[in-house]
Subunit: 273 residues, 2 copies
């Protein structure tokens, strides 16, 4: 790492960190809490002490409270109020735009939609994969969209796949593509890499994009998305990282073996990159 640090000595200030959660702090295991990634707990503690940090995740299956609690059970001391996930952002968007969503989402995030009118839906909100996904459920979403004059699908993230310890899994972006194929719906992604969603993270930090680094395992969504918003993007070689990322058309501002290494490198460089 010495030469990399030397090359960075003229870097720009890093005042805040946005961290992806799954694949950066911990790895996901189906129907369990998953497993912490080595030294991510130390990295989080260090950032809480020495910088500012928020957690910007596309996790769509759990409330922010349950996301934080799971991390805490893994020994990673993330505070609930610092977690950003799509569901409450989508709910707020529905409120502000007077949308009546058909909810194709996990039970655990339904609480965010309390008080929102879901009768005679004028859009579909989708954030369901794995156990709650079924032909009948996607077909219900399809039937609602096909009957709309201007069908609108709001998707919580638009990922190609997510990583579980047992292997990669097809993600909600694929089913958004399926619904678009069959209904020609407009697809609005509220999740990384949309600028609107990254702005939630910038606003939570109260910083300009050029002060912030985003650390993620997804090259296109985390790193490329952050860079498109004027932040710097750091790729970690954990989670869904694959060697062929290096042939893809996004170049991270830094690539590190894990979150801890990235944080240490930047801290050792006087919080510059």
């Amino acid at each position: 790492m010495t030469s990399e640090r030397k090359g960075m000595s003229n870097g720009r200030a890093v005042n805040g960190f946005l961290l992806d959660i799954t694949g950066v702090l911990y790895n996901s295991i189906y129907k369990s809490d998953g497993v912490a990634i080595a030294k991510s707990a130390e990295a989080v503690d260090f950032l809480y002490q020495h910088s500012k940090v928020k957690f910007l995740s596309n996790a769509k299956g759990n409330s922010n409270r349950n996301v934080a609690r799971r991390l805490q059970r893994l020994g990673i001391n993330v505070r609930e109020e610092d977690v950003i996930t799509p569901a409450p952002v989508v709910a707020q968007y529905c409120r502000e735009n007077k949308l009546r969503p058909h909810l194709f989402v996990r039970d655990d995030v339904l609480e965010y939609f309390d008080g929102i009118d879901t009768s005679s839906p004028n859009c579909v909100v989708m954030g369901e994969v794995e156990e709650g996904f079924s032909f009948d459920r996607i077909n219900r979403a399809f039937r609602i969209l096909i009957d709309m004059p201007k069908p609108l699908l709001i998707t919580m993230g638009n990922g190609k796949f997510f990583q579980r310890v047992d292997g990669p899994c097809i993600d909600v972006g694929a089913f958004a593509a399926a619904l678009k194929f069959s209904t020609n719906c407009e697809v609005l992604n509220i999740g990384k890499p949309s600028r609107f969603y990254f702005e939630q993270g910038m606003n939570a930090l109260g910083m300009k994009p050029e002060e912030i680094v985003m650390v993620g395992d997804d090259l296109m969504s985390d790193v490329g998305g952050a860079q498109a918003c004027g932040m710097r993007g750091i790729q970690v070689r954990t989670g869904k990282w694959r060697p062929d990322f290096e042939k893809m058309p996004v170049t991270p501002d830094l690539t590190a073996d894990c979150l801890y290494d990235a944080v240490k490198l930047i801290a050792d460089n006087g919080f510059r990159l």
Copy 2:
């Protein structure tokens, strides 16, 4: 109909008919035989007596034997040997091209793949929707494709939706779009509207495309697909037909309220259209 017949008196000879099955002969009901469309049985009997007819369907859930038997139970006397569905055509394609498919298909069509090596798959064959569709099954297909250097998905039809009596249902084309989104796989459709599949129908009739009319309820796949192969395409206002088809960029050679009306019109015109 009188004026239409008059206008057709200088039409070209019609020597053979390709008929779509679902939405033309009968309407589908989930987990039942469905219901015959009025006078389709008479139209089929008439064509067997006075012309040549084959049945070119994208039905992917049943063997040709069971497709024919269901129609016979509905009083529609279609012979098994005149039914063309994708599964046996796909199986033959796999044999000729030494493909080892991962089979994401219904149990009822597995018999066509007897003797084909399915170990260490080098393609995925997909023809499953409704009850056998699950997140785990599409995810297994995804994992096989994502690990291939040149992923190949063979889909049995590429439809946007199919029609059941209870409403439209998202079809296999949507899930092909999902897998393409997540794996960038090549998608080979063996089903209408692919020329390769229409050629199965032309070969079964032993005729040139200009001698044949295709009758279907799907404007793009049946009518547009047939026309692209040099056949004439007839739209019926049954099955998945919707009024907004008339705004779409395919113009049928004839539109009729049902198969019987189309057949009668052509027969009354001396088998010319």
